[in-house]
Amino acid sequence: MTEQVPASAVGPGSRLGLRQGGRALAGLGLNLFTGFVGLFFLLMAGIGLVTAIAGVGLPILYEALLGIRRLTRLQRRWAGQLSGRPLASPYVGGLDRGMFASLRAAALDPATWRDIGWLALQPLVALALGLVPLALLISAYSIFDSAMGNGPAQDMLGLVLISALVAATWWLLPWLTAAQCAFSRWLLSPSSRTELTERVSQLFASRADAVDAQSVELRRIERDLHDGAQARLVALAMDLGLAEKAIDENPAIAKQLVSASRASAQQALADLRGLVRGIHPPVLADRGLAGAIEAAALLCPVPIRLDIIIPARPEPPVESALYFAAAEALTNLAKHSDATRGWIRLRYLDGALRLVIGDDGRGGAALQPAGTDDSGGLAGIGRRLAAFDGRLEVVSPVGGPTEVIMELPCASSSPKT
């Protein structure tokens, strides 16, 4: 898996333009700043802790904690920007639930203690990293100061040395920045334990959703069968029974009853067809996701351009989740968009399937239309995808165009051959 790193990021191997160079230098300066402000907060926290026994220390401690969090947030943001990979906030909870409760929560939160470790080490790290370019540049300056102007040969040598030193500084900058970012990431981004906790609660929620959705679905199927095919078969059996009785004395009536039973049978078939299509469309089993999406697009009153490239068939649950998502998006497109054309793009990239369904219509699509509950089709897609760790994004400015973007992690779509 390769990560997308924005062009503005600074790191080893990146070619340093003037802008990035400036940002890297400013970063090293900022490091020194956060390092020393951090020391101040650390001291303040210490004082607060010591005087806490007398009771007056607690507010001091609380203020210090607030300051520390603000500072680490700044550091996190900057390290995220420079390295091109954001650092998530590691805290279990905020400090906004009253002083005592907040202090208790903070004391129990391992992230607080990692913050304190960072506060203690950051000045050293910042100094060490900041001194390197400083030393290089100072020696370049001292060469300029002492050696220049003593004749053309020395001047030449001095110039070469100075350019070498400046070049070395320039070359080192990305490495220094990367080291600083790595250090911040080490202590300031969520520990694997926090990440796991987060993940577990996410999975818990999406599993509950999936179970809910499934039982709702099963109830719907049961009801459809009961009111549809089952009822029609009962009617059919009754008609046939009556026909059997009537056939000798009144063949004309019997004939009528038989043709009524035929109609019931056909209606039952139609009901079952609709039901099966809603559970698992046969074309999906036959042709896989690509074929089924193509088939769905054929039914759309708006011409749809298809651009589908996937290396292999994903596992069935993923296929079906994406198919129904695409079907809903296409229904919306036909129903709401007023578009003259649409497009569908499906790709497999970095272990995930990415499906985009767009149109050039009026836009303004929203996941949960204001003032309604989230029972709409789009919200349903979102829940369904979440159960697979997937993601739904709707980009639809008023006036269009609309793009519905779905992403599902999926390992088995990688080429098998």
Binding site: A295, L299, P301
Partner: protein
């Protein structure tokens, strides 16, 4: 008329054999898998094949694939596909060789024996038999403000029946009007849709189907 049947459920296979035999067809072979169907079509070169879409061993659209492959080998080999569902994608694939002699019907239609036998005969004669549901799905893709929307309700009815592959006489019989009236309706329909008229019934149906399948705009 020699016919090959491919259907994996014996209940339906036996029913089809009985039904077609009773209507003067000569069932030369009745098979239950895709590979056997391919073999039977090659060996018997029937006048028409009646094929279930879903066949073993894959239990996917095996029947359709075999039929399309066989038509590539024997162009125009008449094939009537039966299915529990209609799928535009499959209708399109069946029609894509433009050769005629194809049918695509819901299995429910077998219940109406006369209509069904008529459809098998039509396909054997090189005509088409598209399910009414295929046609109504195609029509529903076209918006009301487009050419289709300019048809009168009667013309629309005629268009639907014609697209299913029925002859003028059959349409006239269905709608209780004269064949001449149907001919006039068809003229109007072709005019409104901007299609060139053709003397040949089959070519006419193909033109209408192609129009309906094209991207609506």
């Amino acid at each position: 008329m020699r016919v090959v049947i491919a259907e994996d459920l014996s209940l339906l296979r036996d029913g089809l054999i009985r039904l077609l035999t009773a209507n003067d067809f000569d069932v030369v072979d009745a098979v239950d898998t895709g590979p056997r169907l391919a073999e039977a079509l090659r060996q018997h070169r029937p006048d028409v094949a009646v094929v279930d879409v879903r066949l073993p061993p894959t239990l996917t659209d095996e029947g359709l694939r075999v039929a399309i492959a066989a038509r590539r080998e024997q162009p125009g080999l008449p094939v009537l596909i039966l299915s529990q569902y209609v799928e535009q994608l499959y209708a399109r694939e069946l029609l894509s060789d433009n050769a005629g002699g194809v049918g695509y019907l819901l299995k429910d239609r077998i219940a109406d024996v006369d209509q069904f036998v008529d459809a098998v005969r039509r396909v054997a004669a090189g005509g088409t038999a598209m399910d009414a549901e295929v046609i109504s799905q195609l029509l529903s893709r076209h918006r009301a403000d487009r050419p289709i929307g300019q048809l009168t309700p009667r013309e629309r009815e005629v268009l639907e029946l014609m697209a299913e592959g029925r002859s003028n006489a059959a349409i006239a019989g269905r709608l209780f009007v004269t064949e001449k009236a149907i001919g006039k309706h068809i003229n109007n329909i072709f005019g409104k849709l901007g299609l060139a008229q053709s003397e040949d019934d089959n070519r006419r149906v193909m033109a209408v189907l192609a129009f309906l399948q094209a991207d609506p705009r």
